[in-house]
Amino acid sequence: MKLLEGKEITKHFGGLVALQNVDFDVHEGEIVGLIGPNGAGKTTLFNVITGTFPSTSGTIKFEEKNITGLKPYKICKLGIARTFQIPKPFPNMSVYENILAVSIFGCDKDKGTSNVKWDINQILEKFGLADKRETQASNLAVFELRMLEIARALATKPRLLLLDEVMAGLNPKETAQITDITRGLRDDGITILMIEHNMRATMGVSDRVIVLDQGMKIADGNPEKVCKDPQVVEAYLGEAYVED
């Protein structure tokens, strides 16, 4: 079943074309990687999906329902949660308060839309934040902040989770940990769309990869196939990766 479907999404910023006629879909239970060079329009696509700003044209459907142009808080309550590329915690709140605040506002009538019913303590436990419970978010280390971003998104009990470069700048061990968590979430019934620069990790974890370049979709398919697509190689991966 198509959980999220975008049709001919176009976004202009003044004269700059950030996205041009992008069609995409995400099926229930998938992990989809969204890749592309800097400035390809990946984060713009996330922003359009979550309603940060409206698209210039095109429609987005979530669970067959048209969500184009809805405000971010409504989209969140429908069951789409996101993380930010540069983490945006509530800095003067404790880790616990961060998650509590979001769980109060993030989903309608406490039930949420996902099958997952973790409470805050379970979320903290799962993300290794249990002993940081009372720590102010502004005092967290980079990795912990990333964990908090994902944990906080989950507190809205989403069906679809958008991860924006959650692995950027992390060491291999931390990357592996996040990869495991991502897989675990999918097994728990949450569909995932993730922007990632870490190629190995993306290719390893994704069921399908969508490639954007200069605002256009240039490839869409299973990771092995996409890797060998000459257009993708030229635009993004570089020859070294293909030989690897």
Binding site: K77, F84, F90, A101
Partner: protein, 302 residues
């Protein structure tokens, strides 16, 4: 936690009630001057706490408190003779709430310095519009207000405001405003209807300010637009809150007490230089205690 600590914290929690009781009976033994001083201090506390509820929490710095205070002052001047005082107060609260809803819908699209400038302009606009009206249309300057002792009205209203703010900060509205202040982007993406919460928070805060203005008005006996919309009512609540520390309600309370008493002392002791000295003290405090006077103290406890 040991026993003495527990006693201390219960005492701290009970202190507002004790202070309220002491102040209730104060007119029986205090001098007129002291009562007048306490009235002013209480009014400043009320204004600072109201300001903190919205601007201190969301970081949308409003410099328009005088607009709402002044509207309250004028409502008492206009309706004070024909309606009973409590009804006038309720009217002032209602009008200010609606007025701030309209203002908020327009101005809260702006951020940072733009919001500050626009709200400041609003107070000046009202000041000058009323002045113009009085001079051109009615041919008067200012209005008489039936003077009454405002000690009890201000005392009760200030304590109601403090209580209301303490309660509101624990509701969804309070939490939403706090999330907006922490990160508006994150708040809106995690389910907070930011426009609604900002406008509502601004209206509630302005309603309190209007209530204080309406209650304070009879003290003067005569008011004009320059008194009612004095920019001091815009700047002082902001300065007091930043001075005392944001984050907790004790901040604006302490800030308002310290600054208004300091101002009174300096004004009576060095009447020509008091502004310079007050300014100097504020610069020192802001440089040495960026989190406000209560910031450091509260950090130690947590």
């Amino acid at each position: 936690m040991n026993l003495t600590n527990m006693k201390f914290s219960t005492l701290l929690k009970l202190s507002p009630i004790i202070i309220f009781i002491v102040l209730t009976f104060a007119p029986l033994f205090a001098k007129t001057y002291h009562l007048a001083l306490v009235t002013s201090v209480l009014c400043w506390i009320g204004l600072a706490v109201s300001w903190h509820f919205f601007s201190g929490t969301t970081k949308y710095i409003s410099l328009g408190s005088a607009a709402f205070f002044g509207v309250g002052v004028y409502i008492t001047a206009i309706f004070g003779k024909s309606l009973p005082f409590p009804v006038v107060l309720l009217l002032a609260a209602a009008i200010n709430f609606l007025f701030a809803l309209c203002v908020g819908l327009v101005t809260l699209r702006l951020k940072g310095i733009y919001f500050a400038i626009l709200t400041f302009g609003l107070a000046e606009l009202l000041n000058n519009a009323i002045l113009f009206w009085e001079m051109q249309v009615t041919g008067t300057r200012g209005r008489f207000v039936t003077p009454i002792d405002v000690y009890y009205p201000i005392l009760i209203i200030t304590f109601i405001i403090i209580l209301a703010v303490i309660i509101l900060r624990r509701t969804k509205l309070g939490l939403g405003l706090r999330m907006i202040g922490e990160s508006e982007d994150a708040a809106v993406h995690f389910g907070v209807n930011t426009t609604l919460y900002k406008v509502l928070g601004f209206a509630v805060s302005s309603m309190f300010m209007g209530l204080l203005g309406a209650a304070f008005s009879p003290r003067w006996g005569y008011i004009d637009s320059g008194m009612a919309f004095n920019p001091l009512y815009s700047f002082m609540p902001a300065i007091m809150t930043l001075f005392g520390g944001t984050g907790r309600i004790i901040g604006p309370v302490v800030g308002a007490i310290v600054i208004s008493l300091l101002e009174e002392y300096l004004l009576t002791t060095f009447k020509d230089y008091f502004m310079i000295i007050l300014g100097g003290i504020m610069i020192i405090v802001i440089l040495t205690l960026p989190e406000g006077m209560t910031g450091k103290l509260l950090k130690k406890n947590t």
